[in-house]
């Protein structure tokens, strides 16, 4: 193995000199526009409420903020949010773990996958809300029922995406590892897992809002605590400010969850094309 001529073709890396605005300009603009959009909407809402539209239906931002302040002071907000967050996290973890494991196992066993495929699709198509009454019978109206309802929703999304990822693994890459003398275990660890990571992450990403949806639906159907309960309770007293205040909390939770997932995605998918 002697030394060969250096590469004379191909790209050359040179540093780019960029000012702060060139580096962050677009991001800053996007954020400024976002903030402006929210501000305009809130101001319009505040003006419209009670002047053009009945306040019983739409409440108004200042009332909502006031309600959040009251709830924060008396602990209502924190207790109920904590319950819901726990249900979301447990439901998501349970469903995601089961989905990933089932996805890897079933997609690797071709025959079993073919046998089970129609059943899985049938179960997947069932709206998970329809399972809520059954889950109440089985698990009562406590936290278990919400966790499992969220997990059932998350499971299918993660399972289907993982299985698709595993089944789309490039045959050539598997052969390459076999040629290096790798066994089944090497193929799984060094090709199947990293290559299906895109599918797994897509599944996880898609499933995050559904964990929240599953949980809140569970709480709306039957519960005595949690944010879903808070919505039901406020609505039954025509307290729209309370409903909106809870919705604000829910969207904050959803936002935080999305940030967490996209952080994982960036770490794992560094090798992907730059444009996504």
């Amino acid at each position: 193995m002697t030394v060969a001529a250096p590469v004379t073709t191909g790209p050359v890396v040179i540093p780019r000199d960029r000012s702060w605005w060139q580096k962050h300009g677009t991001t800053t603009t996007v954020w400024l526009v976002r903030v402006a959009l929210v501000a305009i909407l809130l101001v319009l809402w505040e003006i419209a409420a009670d002047r053009w539209i009945d306040i019983t239906y739409v409440s108004r931002p200042s009332d909502i903020v006031g309600r959040l302040g009251d709830w924060l002071a008396d602990g209502t907000l924190w207790t109920n949010t904590w319950i819901t967050v726990q249900e979301i996290v447990y439901g998501f973890l349970l469903g995601a773990a089961a989905g990933v494991v089932a996805g890897f196992v079933l997609a690797s066993l071709n025959f079993v996958y073919r046998v089970l495929d129609p059943f899985v699709m049938a179960l997947y198509a069932i709206p998970k809300v329809a399972l809520a009454p059954l889950f109440i019978v089985w698990f009562g109206i406590g936290m278990h029922m919400k966790v499992l309802l969220a997990a059932a929703t998350v499971f299918f999304l993660v399972f289907l995406n993982t299985a698709a990822g595993v089944r789309e693994v490039d045959r050539g890459l598997v052969d390459a590892v076999r040629l290096m003398g790798g066994g089944r275990w090497d193929v799984l660890r060094k090709v199947v897992v990293p290559s299906s990571m895109t599918g797994v992450l897509t599944g996880l990403k898609v499933a995050v809002p559904y964990a929240l949806i599953g949980t809140v639906i569970g709480e709306l159907v039957a519960s005595n605590k949690g944010l879903g309960y808070l919505i039901n309770d406020s609505a039954s007293q025509f307290d729209t400010a309370g409903v909106f205040a809870t919705l604000v909390v829910l969207s904050v939770i959803a936002g935080v969850l999305n940030v967490v997932v996209s952080m994982i995605g960036k770490r794992v998918n560094r090798w992907k094309p730059l444009d996504d």
Binding site: T2, A4, T9, D175, A176, L179, G182, S195
Partner: protein, 255 residues
């Protein structure tokens, strides 16, 4: 049987619904240790199937492939295979791709790193260790694939039109590098191509395949080494050989 690779009565059929498609029929070949054999054939003549069988990636329907004294039942650690398409792991940078065969052999990481660094320099990719395959040009990916194959320290190299997708200049460059890497290494090479010039430039021996892997012509190439593609083109011996091979391919096609 004295060759390092002995192929005997090899047949491969692919099942498709109720039919079996025959890709290779009763193919026999003996490859001498340390030789550079080029296999020339038109596309669809079973070249790739033959190499996949020699590499142990496929099970033959009939016949055997023997490597030294053992009959192949799967990939052999001493046989390296450079496929037509790139099979670099897209989620690994160049260095980690080249290290991969060593990783599978459980070579300690320090040693792995130094072997990989040496090979990357050897194929002219120094400075690109941290680049991912998608950031490299086609030619650089080929170099990285070559380095990865060599990292397994194969005694026998199988190559399936490795430079087929490259532009002519780059192909010439990589052919020269391959010869430089091979010369004096004692490695046996089986190089499949559809390009007559490439077959003659590289090989000690050219085997021309016809339909279903029938051997149309099997001939030694006694052109002196080192060979230079530009000088070779005007060499009368080369021109005569070129004509002979072209005729063999044409006759086969006419049948």
């Amino acid at each position: 049987m004295t060759g390092v690779l002995n192929v005997d009565g090899l047949t491969k059929q692919f099942a498709k619904d109720d039919d079996a498609i025959v890709a290779l029929r009763d193919f026999s070949l003996e490859i001498a240790e340390g030789s550079f054999v080029t296999v020339l054939g038109r596309s669809g003549c079973g070249k790739s199937t033959m190499l996949n069988l020699l590499a142990g990636l496929m099970e033959p329907t009939n016949g055997t492939v023997r490597y030294r004294t053992e009959t192949l039942t799967g990939p052999h650690p001493e046989i390296g295979y450079l496929t037509q398409s790139d099979t670099l792991m897209p989620w690994r940078d160049v260095r980690r791709n080249v290290e991969m065969p060593l990783e599978i052999r459980k070579v300690p990481s320090g040693e792995r790193r130094s072997i990989a660094a040496e090979l990357i320099r050897g194929v002219g990719l120094a400075g690109f260790e941290k680049h991912y395959p998608r950031e490299l040009s086609g030619g650089m990916r080929r170099r990285a694939s070559l380095a990865r194959m060599l990292a397994g320290r194969p005694a026998t190299l199988l190559m399936d039109e490795p430079f087929g997708a490259l532009d002519a200049q780059l192909r010439t460059e990589l052919q020269a590098e391959l010869l430089r890497l091979w010369q004096g290494s004692g490695q046996t090479v089986v190089f499949v191509t559809h390009d007559i010039e490439e077959a003659l430039l590289l090989g000690d021996r050219v085997v021309v395949l016809g339909r279903l892997g029938r051997i149309v012509l099997d001939r030694a190439v006694d052109l002196p080494r080192p060979r230079d593609v530009d000088l070779l083109r005007v060499d009368p011996a080369f021109v005569a050989l070129h004509g002979e091979l072209a005729r063999a391919l044409k006759e086969e096609a006419a049948q």
